[in-house]
Amino acid sequence: MTASISLPARNAGRISADRLAGFGPLFRKELLEWAHSKRPWVIVVVTTLFMTLTAANSAINAWIVANVPEATVSGAPISLDPAMNFLAAISSQIFVLVAIFAAMSLLVAERDRGTLAWVASKPVSRGAIWLSKWAAAAIVVSIVAGIVPMAATFGLVAVLYGSAGVGTFVFATVGVVASIAFIIAVVLAASAVISNQAAVAAIGFAVFFLPQILVSLVPLDLEPFLPTSIMGWAIGLAGGADVGFVTPLVWLLAVVALAGFASWRMERLEL
């Protein structure tokens, strides 16, 4: 026998309005959960230390060369250009690694603990559960792994080398925030399918880093068509390059597609 169920007409409109049912309180809960956790503090300290030390690397090397008679510099000469040193701190993409680790347990752990089933038994849509997790994580991680460390790095660069330019800072920050939002969407969408944190993290790494490697192997310029190129696009924009608008459009479509897929998948989860 197959299920044959027709909805009463009075419910039809309500069901479409219910697609985001519960988003507001769920989003507030997610923000509160981050606020109660030590995780943002750990992220902000680790990321800020990593980025500022990377940015200070040239200054430290220059100081050593100037003050230690036997010291020599191997490889490229030391650059004391502010923009170069500011962008060097970003190019490590530490924020992507941090975002993957921060997001990989968000949905999986709730599933394991049983709190996901508890919340899903309330009059909320599962799409709203996913979206609230993504929105809260994207905001919090963007602040603690993106905006704060970048502001600290920008400040340190100004002290050590001179100003990298406000435009560079603003556009690079936009790129970092967009990269974080994208990778968290990938990790949470994977969590709607797989209930293993390590596997979810592996998918995050694969989606972010593999295409960047693969496009370098083909003769065509596919990089603008990757949502993961959003950082490079933002920096190019800051440098006045003609980068077009394909990349942000692809980024937006990718995030919307991930959200749509994850919501569809969440509705089919057996809890």
């Binding site: 299920a3 009463p8 309500r14 519960g22 089933a117 508890w118 309330k122 009059p123």
Partner: protein, 319 residues
């Protein structure tokens, strides 16, 4: 579905690869009842409750609460308060914050205010612990908070999955008292394998075994249907031939000899439906004809446990 059904299922089925967890469950749960859902471990009780809570999709069949089909999503779940077998909450929230959070998930028109949150906490006996983190709650407190969060949205139906099985006797008593207080206010549909509790609290019962519904009926009616088919007979001066003679009385299905003391012998006499009075009279007449004395000849009142064991262990499943 009948007009006064709080829950109605038709052919509700859930099959996993290689496992038929639940097959063809058709039930009508009367509005305002306390409905016990019985079955041994693995009978399909939790599967059925999860489908009714909208957490698991049926393979086939349909279910509705207050006339709203389960596929209506949030609209359906407004009518349902669900308590999982092992309730889990956010450890960092207090009891009050937990109820406030759940209340906030309901549409503004149905939303409980702070006064109602406090009233529900008091009702489940958690007023003093309301501002403690739920991570510090005992199993019994967690269970009572579970009932509170299920009640906070004023649902039409409470679905409670094994609400007392993990509790000590005091905790069990408290939760059963609470369920009894809810009679008439909300329909309570709960699963359990503790049969004494069902007999004490439930006015209706459904018995599930191997993923299939074995019997559903008002509790008193179910017990009464088994009362009429068994007699306890004690005869003075009975001998070995007495049991054989009784077994030959029309309407007697079987005779099991019981204990002996002095010259008294006891028997459990199973009888065909509707033959109670005739058989009782025939036994009395037989004893008188053979110079024996009948000291007991009455219907045996079976407890729910006996009925349950007979239903799940035998093929005696006639409606």
């Amino acid at each position: 579905m009948t007009l006064d059904s709080a829950i109605s299922t038709a052919g509700l089925t859930k099959h996993y690869p290689g496992v038929a967890a639940l097959t063809d469950l058709s039930l009508d749960v009367p509005t305002g009842s306390i409905y016990g859902f019985l079955g041994p471990n693995g009978a399909g009780k939790s599967t059925a409750i999860k489908m009714l809570a909208g957490l698991t999709r049926p393979t086939s069949g349909s279910a509705s609460v207050a006339g709203i089909p389960v596929v209506a999503g949030p609209g359906y779940r407004r009518e349902v308060g669900y308590l999982a077998q092992e309730p889990r909450f956010y450890d960092w929230m207090t009891g009050r914050e937990t109820l406030g959070f759940v209340a906030s998930l309901y549409p503004a028109t149905d939303r409980a205010d702070a006064a109602r949150v406090a009233a529900v906490l008091a009702r489940v006996g958690l007023a003093d612990a309301a501002d403690r983190r739920t991570g510090t709650y005992s199993g019994g407190m967690r269970q009572r908070l579970g009932i509170a969060q299920a009640l906070i949205g004023s649902p039409a139906v409470l679905l409670l999955d094994e609400p007392v099985s993990a509790l000590d006797p005091i905790g069990r008593h408290e939760v059963l008292d609470l369920m009894r207080e809810l009679r008439g206010e909300v329909t309570v549909f709960y699963s359990t394998h503790i049969l004494d509790d069902v007999e004490r609290v439930s006015d209706h019962v459904a018995i599930l075994d191997g993923g299939r519904l074995v019997r559903s009926a008002p509790t008193a009616e179910l017990l009464a249907s088994f009362d009429q088919d068994q007699l306890r007979v004690v005869i003075g001066g009975a001998d070995d031939a007495t049991a054989v003679a009784m077994a030959s009385i029309p309407g007697v299905v079987s005779v099991e000899p019981g204990e002996r003391s002095a010259d008294l012998r006891s028997y459990v006499v199973r009888i065909a439906p509707g033959a109670t009075t005739t058989v009782q009279a025939a036994i009395t007449r037989f004893a008188a004809d053979h110079g024996q004395t009948v000291t007991e000849n009455h219907v045996v009142r079976l407890g729910l446990e006996d009925v349950f064991l007979r239903l799940v262990n035998t093929t005696e499943r006639a409606a």
